[in-house]
C-alpha cells in the first residue's frame, strides 16, 4: 500500500510534481501514466526516498521510506535511468545490493534465474543490451522479495518477448497480493497490464480510475480497413461522413464511422473486405485526457 498525499517537488521555478495525491492498493497492478516530463519519475523517486519532497508525504505501509527497517525487503524499485555501475558484473551488482539489504546469497541466484540472465551473470554490465539492463534492474527490484514493487518504464528497450514476460510478471506479482506500480507513457501497454490507472500531466493528477472504466470512456473509435478496391471504397466512406487516412497502398484508417456502416458500404459496392479491425483508441483517449498537460508538443 502506497499513500501519496499532497506531494510537491519544485526544480527551480518549475513544479515537477504539484500537490499530487493518490493511493496504490495491494493485489492490483496500478499503471502510472503521463506524457514525458509529466513528473512520473520524480514521483517514483520521492516514493523511493531518493528525492526530497518540498511538501506533502509518501508512506509505504504507513511508514516513511527512510524509517523502513529493511527497505529492500519492503520496497523494490526499477528506476528509469539504469542505476548500475557498468564495470561490475550483474552478479556482483546484485550481491552488493543483497548485502546492503540483508538478503541471502541464494536469493541473488534466484532472481538472476527469474529474469533469465543466468548465462551472462558474470559478464560486466557495461556490455549489456538495453533489454538485458532492464532485466537486471527488475532482478534488483525483486531481490528483497518486497511487498511493494515500483517499476519505472519497465518495458523500455525490451523485445516483444520481454514485454510479454514483464506483463505476466506484473500480473503474477499482483496475484501474490503485492502492491505493483508501473509507469509508462504508452496507454495501450497499460491497458493490457494494469487494473487501475493513475494519470498525471504536468505533475498534477488528471484521473484515478479502473482501466475498464477508462476504456469505456474513450469516445473516438477508429478502424483499420483493407479491401479489394480501396480507391472505390474511400469516396463512399467519406460521403457517409467518415474521415479516412491512407496508411499504405493497401491499408486505410477510418474514423467517425461504425464498423457496421463500413461493412454495409463495402457490401453495396460488391467490394470484398479483407480486414476490419477495431483500432484500440486508448491512445486517443489518453491524448484527450492529457491534452492540456503536454509538456513537450510538436507544433507541426
Amino acid at each position: 500500500m502506497i499513500e501519496v498525499r499532497g506531494l510537491t517537488k519544485r526544480f527551480g521555478d518549475v513544479a515537477a510534481v504539484d500537490g499530487l495525491s493518490f493511493d496504490v492498493a495491494p493485489g492490483k497492478v496500478t499503471g502510472f501514466l503521463g506524457p514525458n516530463g509529466s513528473g512520473k519519475t520524480t514521483t517514483m523517486s520521492m516514493i523511493m526516498g531518493l528525492n526530497r519532497p518540498d511538501s506533502g508525504s509518501v508512506t509505504i505501509s504507513g511508514k516513511k521510506y527512510k524509517d523502513l527497517r529493511w527497505p529492500m525487503r519492503e520496497v523494490g524499485g526499477l528506476l528509469e535511468a539504469r542505476a548500475i555501475h557498468p564495470g561490475r558484473s550483474a552478479y556482483a551488482h546484485l550481491w552488493s545490493l543483497a548485502q546492503y539489504g540483508g538478503v541471502k546469497k541464494s536469493r541473488v541466484e534466484e532472481v538472476i534465474d527469474l529474469v533469465g540472465l543466468t548465462s551472462v551473470a558474470k559478464r560486466r554490465v557495461g556490455k549489456f543490451s538495453l533489454g538485458m539492463g532492464q532485466r537486471l534492474g527488475i532482478a534488483a527490484a525483486l531481490l528483497g522479495d518486497p511487498a511493494v514493487v515500483l517499476l519505472d518504464e519497465p518495458v523500455n528497450g525490451l523485445d516483444p518477448e520481454g514485454i510479454r514476460w514483464t506483463r505476466s510478471l506484473c500480473r503474477e506479482l499482483a496475484g501474490e497480493g503485492r502492491t505493483v506500480l508501473i509507469s509508462s507513457h504508452l496507454m495501450a501497454e497499460m491497458a493490457l497490464t494494469a487494473d487501475q490507472l493513475v494519470v498525471i500531466g504536468r505533475g498534477v493528477l488528471i484521473a484515478e480510475l479502473p482501466v475498464d472504466e477508462f476504456v469505456a470512456r474513450s469516445s473516438k473509435r477508429s478502424f483499420k480497413v483493407r479491401a479489394s478496391n480501396l480507391e472505390m471504397l474511400i469516396p463512399a466512406l467519406e460521403d457517409a461522413g467518415a474521415l479516412t487516412l491512407r496508411e499504405t497502398s493497401a491499408c486505410l484508417t477510418v474514423m467517425n464511422l461504425s464498423a457496421e456502416r463500413i461493412g454495409e458500404l463495402a457490401l453495396e459496392q460488391q467490394n470484398a473486405l479483407y480486414e476490419l479491425t477495431d483500432l484500440c483508441s486508448l491512445e486517443d483517449a489518453f491524448m484527450e485526457l492529457t491534452e492540456g498537460a503536454l509538456q513537450y508538443r510538436a507544433t507541426a
Binding site: S45, M48, G49, L50, N51, R52, Y65, K66, L68, R69, W70, P71, M72, V75, G77, L79, A81, R82, A83, I84, H85, P86, G87, R88, S89, A92, H93, W95, S96, L97, A98, Q99, Y100, G101, G102, K104, K105, S106, A140
Partner: protein, 271 residues
C-alpha cells in the same frame, strides 16, 4: 577468497535493521568487484617499488646520505595520489553512473553509506599502505646492503616512518572520498583533490609572504613530506613545519571535516 572476508553469516534476520554492518559488506563487495581495485594496487606497487629502486640505486657508492629511508619511500609521494584518486572515484563514479540511486534506495540513511565507504577505503589504504611501506623498506635495504648508507629498523625514526606512511595513505584516500561526497562529479573532485595536494603547494611558494609562512605548514603535501622522512626538519624553506604526528592528526581532522560536510550534504540533497 577476498570476497568472503566480511561475510560471516548470510542470514541477517536476527538483526533489527539494515545498518552499518550491512553497508560495510555491500561496500566491500562493490570495492573488489571493480577492475579499478586491482589496477590501483598494481599502480601503487609499481610506483613505490619502481621509484624505490631508482632512487635507492642512485645512492650506491655514495658515502654521505641524509635520510636514506626518505629516498627509499619516495614513491609514497605519488602513491598518495593513486590512493586519493581511488577514494574520489569510489563515490563519484556512483554519481556518474547512477549507481548511487540503487545504493541510496537500499540504504536511505545516507550517512551510513558514506561511513561504510570511508571505513572500506581507509581500511584498504591502511593495510595496503603498511604492506607497501614495509616491503619497500626491505627492497631498499636489499639494494643498499653492503653500501655506506644502509638502513635498518633500529635507526632512529625509521620504524615511525614506515608505520605512519601507511596511515598517511589511508587518510589521503578518505580525503579523496570526502571531496567526492561534497562535489559529486568525478572531474571536479579530481581537480580539487590535485589542487589541494599539488597546485596549492606550488602557488604558495610562488607567493611568499607572512601569511604564506603561517599557512603553508597546513598543506597536506607539506605534512606528508615530514611523515615520509626520518630526520624531520622543523622548517621548510624558512617556514615552520608540524611534527609528523601532529601533522597526521591534522590530516585526519581534514578527512573528518570533509566527511562531515559531505555526509551532511548527501543527507540534505536529492540523490
Amino acid at each position: 577468497m577476498t570476497q568472503d572476508l566480511l561475510i560471516r553469516d548470510e542470514v541477517t534476520e536476527s538483526k533489527s535493521r539494515a545498518g552499518l554492518q550491512c553497508a560495510l559488506r555491500g561496500e566491500w563487495t562493490k570495492f573488489w568487484s571493480l577492475r579499478s581495485a586491482g589496477w590501483s594496487v598494481f599502480a601503487l606497487a609499481f610506483v613505490t617499488y619502481g621509484l624505490c629502486y631508482l632512487s635507492t640505486s642512485a645512492l650506491r657508492g655514495h658515502t654521505e646520505v641524509t635520510d636514506p629511508i626518505m629516498r627509499v619511500l619516495v614513491g609514497f609521494n605519488f602513491g598518495q595520489f593513486v590512493m586519493g584518486v581511488l577514494g574520489v572515484l569510489f563515490l563519484s563514479s556512483e554519481y556518474s553512473t547512477g549507481q548511487i540511486r540503487s545504493t541510496m534506495a537500499s540504504m536511505p540513511r545516507r550517512g551510513i553509506v558514506l561511513g561504510a565507504k570511508a571505513i572500506v577505503i581507509g581500511g584498504f589504504g591502511l593495510v595496503l599502505g603498511e604492506v607497501l611501506s614495509f616491503s619497500t623498506y626491505f627492497l631498499g635495504r636489499f639494494i643498499l646492503s653492503g653500501q655506506a648508507s644502509q638502513i635498518s629498523l633500529s635507526q632512529p625514526g625509521v620504524l615511525r616512518v614506515l608505520i605512519e606512511s601507511g596511515i598517511d595513505l589511508a587518510i589521503v584516500g578518505v580525503i579523496g572520498l570526502g571531496i567526492a561526497a561534497i562535489v559529486r562529479s568525478s572531474a571536479a573532485s579530481l581537480s580539487i583533490f590535485t589542487s589541494i595536494m599539488l597546485v596549492l603547494t606550488v602557488v604558495f611558494f610562488a607567493l611568499p609572504g607572512v601569511i604564506v609562512n603561517v599557512l603553508s605548514r597546513y598543506l597536506p603535501a607539506n605534512i606528508s613530506s615530514t611523515v615520509f622522512a626520518s630526520t624531520t626538519p622543523s622548517q621548510l624553506q624558512g617556514t615552520p613545519l608540524f611534527s609528523p604526528f601532529i601533522g597526521l592528526l591534522l590530516l585526519a581532522l581534514y578527512a573528518i571535516v570533509l566527511l562531515g560536510v559531505g555526509g551532511w550534504l548527501m543527507a540534505k540533497r536529492d540523490t
